[in-house]
Symmetry: C2
Amino acid sequence: MRNAHAHTRAEGRAARGAALRIGEVSRRSGVGIEALRFYERRGLLGRPSRTESNYRVYDETVLERLDFIRRAQAVGFTLDEISEILAESADGRSPCRHVRELARRKLEELDRRLAELRRHRAELARTLADWDERGEQEGHVCGLIEHSTLDAPAPEPVRPKRTRGSK
Amino acid sequence: MRNAHAHTRAEGRAARGAALRIGEVSRRSGVGIEALRFYERRGLLGRPSRTESNYRVYDETVLERLDFIRRAQAVGFTLDEISEILAESADGRSPCRHVRELARRKLEELDRRLAELRRHRAELARTLADWDERGEQEGHVCGLIEHSTLDAPAPEPVRPKRTRGSK
DNA sequence: CTTGACTCTGTAGTCGGCTACAGGGTCTAC
DNA sequence: GTAGACCCTGTAGCCGACTACAGAGTCAAG
């Protein structure tokens, strides 16, 4: 009734009681099965109980937890940070202070990252404009970047530094 | 004379003529030795000539090229894109049209990325503020993300999508 | 003739967040 | 009794841009 072709044996049992198996959790949360197992390994989901045949059995609170994970990711926390937070709160300790601290640092990082991106955007836009003016001659890469206009690219080794984003 | 403790046999030969060896290129460009070899494998530097003992020998134009690479990276091109551009221009073909196209797309991508980051920043800032108001009680992760305030985190699998940046 | 700075090749590891197998077992509807 | 949907474990691969190392050769100065 919920999803047309999702009425195997699964649905009857798990309609809206408690026991969910991994596939259902995946369907309901949008998190892939492999990702769920991966989260478990990473300590983000604890160990779910098992059926006799060793299938994972979740209760519905896992959906909230996954939601939390997604939201936390969306604002830029890494899985490691998230699992730290979750571990702390599972311990009874309030992760407040810690989380707050993390969040503040994240915010700063985000600001730095934003500033950087804005700079890049500006540079790129300028290059393109610049380039619409003069023709297509000159410079073996037609002036894309190579004549000045731009600031010196700093002698540091340009490292990746991934910043997480939803999507 | 240029750098205090950089006056091994190296410097004498390469003071400001032509033949540079990899270590000097690295020092002068700020690009690590391993990175230089890596670029070569990736087709960004062509194959330099060699001494009898098989040492790479560069001439000074490599420094410009490295500069170009860095600038291109800084505005968001990947190494693959850069090597494509370089290959084209080495071929005599002007990579203009292509580069322009790439640049336009990069710009769009950058804009998307910026918008995304701004959203994240806003969310995070809101969460923090929100959270300064009410006390430290409630919600097992003290309300960090889990109660509403924020928009739904979309059911898509949150994928990395790295965007390059200098630093 | 040794020391030590430099170079070479080739392979493997890093980060983060997954995804994709391979090679099984389980369960149930037909 | 069998097809096929589901589940298990464990390992390997992916992206991007490097970095790190092992094990060897080269070269000039003391």
